[in-house]
Symmetry: C2
Amino acid sequence: MSDFVHLLKTKDLKATPQRICVLRELEKKNHPTIEHLYDALRKENPSMSLATVYKNIATLKEKGIVIEVNISDGKMHYDIYSHPHVHLVCQNCGVIQDIDYDDALVAYQHSLETHKGIKVGRLDLIATIESCSFCKK
Amino acid sequence: MSDFVHLLKTKDLKATPQRICVLRELEKKNHPTIEHLYDALRKENPSMSLATVYKNIATLKEKGIVIEVNISDGKMHYDIYSHPHVHLVCQNCGVIQDIDYDDALVAYQHSLETHKGIKVGRLDLIATIESCSFCKK
DNA sequence: CTCTTTTTTTCGAATCATTCCATAATACAC
DNA sequence: GTGTATTATGGAATGATTCGAAAAAAAGAG
């Protein structure tokens, strides 16, 4: 049984081909928008409906399998959240990269918690850079 | 000359009453949505149009005076960006608080820059907490 | 202050994204 | 296989955002 089938079952979701396609596309780490997903998935499965993409993304988001990434380009991007990470966005070419947690980020979270007396549930962090290796400027 | 008039002039924007009202409302640090702004501003100025709110927010965003805050509640919130800060969001009551940069965050930014060999332009960070002093749970 | 130019505001219409709805199809447990 | 609950589909409905044209107002010059 594929990993995605197993993942869906543990979250009480039926392992439909459409859902698995969405996850497979997200796995490519392109951080696609709904429109990108719809275009990509229709190539394999022409009957795939836009409503299905919306609905599945919403469902996967509710279950914590998928997260939104807002890079302020007017469209929402989506990402599989298989492990805690943050994002790096190139302002020039728009490429989004995952960045794993490191000691310094964990230290910041601790500093927040001790200083403010709170328990942080999640850090959504987007670091913007002016250019990156993909647009080599 | 009021601070906002001066600020707008330095960004080559005309200091219209509508624009100043938007800034004054944002200054309250309610982190309002477009809808909130429209409702609040119409009370003072009933002829204020929704299109004007949208347009002014877009203009102020382009000039870097205002930033978007996406707390994943389906609506975009807006904030004056007069100095670098990040946000704390209570998942329970939805209140958004500003948090100034501290040493640990500066250290994280430095660690990103040295480790990845990049120059970070801006950090958009939203720390989610389960409950806060405003909803006292 | 008045004139001129440019920007901004306003309102309604148009557009675009997202959600809803009813029906058909499918996954999965037994 | 059969039955039941869930999901997919397409089109219509909704709701948010943008557009466009005309009127209003700001800034600057004289």
